[in-house]
Symmetry: C2
Subunit: 292 residues, 2 copies
């Protein structure tokens, strides 16, 4: 596959800059988004707008999908005028959305029956990473297929890891969200503990950064908490959705995750308070409010 024709479905905050990076790397690019106006910036850059996922699939060798949640991916693939309806044997579908690992395995099996290879390749690094082309990409699926898509991943991301078979990319992304959510809650409680004890939390954060408590979350999200600057970053509503995936998957495989379950409640509370659009480091607001 020296010069594949590329398709990209889903042109939101993440999908748009990712697709633009592919187009700017010189690939023929066919795009689809539910709202026609979302396709305009891509069309301006020379991409070809399509009127359905099926039309994208008809034109492209590799089809990327970047939508919100599991049902969205299912509808793009298997809905009316979905990708599967225009299936060509040997085609590759790469789902970069963050969705359920269990459903991912099911979808990969359904596509395999049509002779279509699927990769799950969720990302982290946010809008900033999407624009800069420095996303972390965690990939599940066949290693040979991964190798063929690698040059395209390289246009969108920096730290690209093939984790394992179908679903393993989604599992790694879920682990990322578990770790980040728990770390945010712990840093939030530490910063509140310092302040309520009359101790300068900025100095505490500084002192802690060099030791075992040191983390990217203490550095970046700890600062956001102390500055009360909850501009995303990563929106609470999306972190809530990702923790739904974590806890739903854990329930299906019979695994108790008490810390994750508790932190998910903080996200629920934030969304319930109308703060779903804030960065998820706003968890500190929920914990603070409890004692006010």
């Amino acid at each position: 596959m020296t010069r594949p024709v590329v398709g990209f479905i889903g042109l939101g905050i993440m999908g748009r800059p990712m697709a633009l990076n592919i187009r700017n790397a010189g690939y023929e690019l066919h795009v689809y988004a539910r709202r026609a106006e979302s396709m305009q910036p891509l069309a301006d850059a020379g991409a070809i707008p399509s009127d359905s996922p099926a039309a994208v699939a008809q034109a492209a060798d590799v089809v990327f999908i970047m939508v919100s949640d599991t049902p969205d991916v299912e509808s793009v693939l298997f809905g009316e005028l979905g990708v599967a309806s225009a299936a060509k044997a040997g085609q590759i579908v790469v789902d970069m959305s963050t969705i359920s690992p269990v459903n991912t395995r099911d979808m990969a099996a359904r596509l395999a029956a049509l002779d279509i290879d699927m990769l799950d390749a969720p990302v982290s690094g946010g809008e900033v990473g999407a624009i800069a082309g420095t996303l972390s990409i965690m990939v599940g699926g066949n290693a040979a297929v991964f190798a063929r898509v690698q040059p395209l991943f390289g246009v969108m991301g920096g730290n690209i890891v093939h984790i394992g078979d179908h679903g393993c990319g989604q599992v790694a992304k879920a682990c990322n969200q578990i770790t980040v959510a728990g770390a945010i809650a712990a840093v939030a409680e530490a910063m509140l503990f310092a302040r309520k004890n009359g101790t300068d939390p900025y100095k505490v954060r500084e002192a802690l950064l060099g030791g075992f408590a040191g983390s990217k979350i203490l550095e970046v999200h700890g600062k956001r908490m102390l500055d009360h600057n909850f501009q995303p970053g990563f929106k609470t509503a999306l972190h809530q959705k990702d923790m739904d995936i974590v806890l739903d998957t854990a329930r299906q495989i019979g695994l108790a995750l008490p810390t994750s379950a508790m932190v998910a409640q903080f996200l629920n509370a934030l969304v319930g308070s109308g703060d779903g659009e804030l960065d998820s480091s706003a968890i500190v607001k929920v914990i603070e409010k409890m004692s006010q």
Copy 2:
């Protein structure tokens, strides 16, 4: 104070190498430990063994204390033949134990009434840092007193921060333990989630280290969890004691810390299972056991 005479009370796993570093820097050093045999290695290095905290206080300008818990510090200071009973105006007491910030403020006030300056200066970095003289030291108390003790701190530690007034060092240390405990629980749940989903947790850890989930805990303690190597490190029983301080202080000031409270339960469970001597990253064992 160009060449103070130094005292050191408490010569356990941490205190012994810290006192040795002071002696090896050429200071006249008077030591006391409850068990006489603990003083032998120091005596071999030229330190002078004493038979009570009072005897150390009589000889020294600056008295360091490194014992287990709040009641131990209270007894060293105010018990029979305690430091306070041999009080000399202008003397400095530096408590490097990890104890309650509230009680620390009380003790500092009682010593101030005797014209003795107190610093609270708990450390992190463990036995390895104590031996190497690279401990992080978080200091509370008067800034001028801190400046006078700084050369001695420099012999024991690397990252030395004056956080604020009396108790602020203990508050910073408590924040450290909150952050580390929460991060361990989150990393534990992520590693279990990966493994139970048939995904290589080593690869997940590797993929996550470069992004927002990256932390010293994921790097060091995550590896310990995957290798099932729970050699301390930092003992569960001590982390439990530190979380008792956190939650007791939080109760006194009326602050809810739900994540810390839950993680403290994991530490209780570990100690209850006879695993109190393991590194506290063994929290992963408790969470794993719940679903077995």
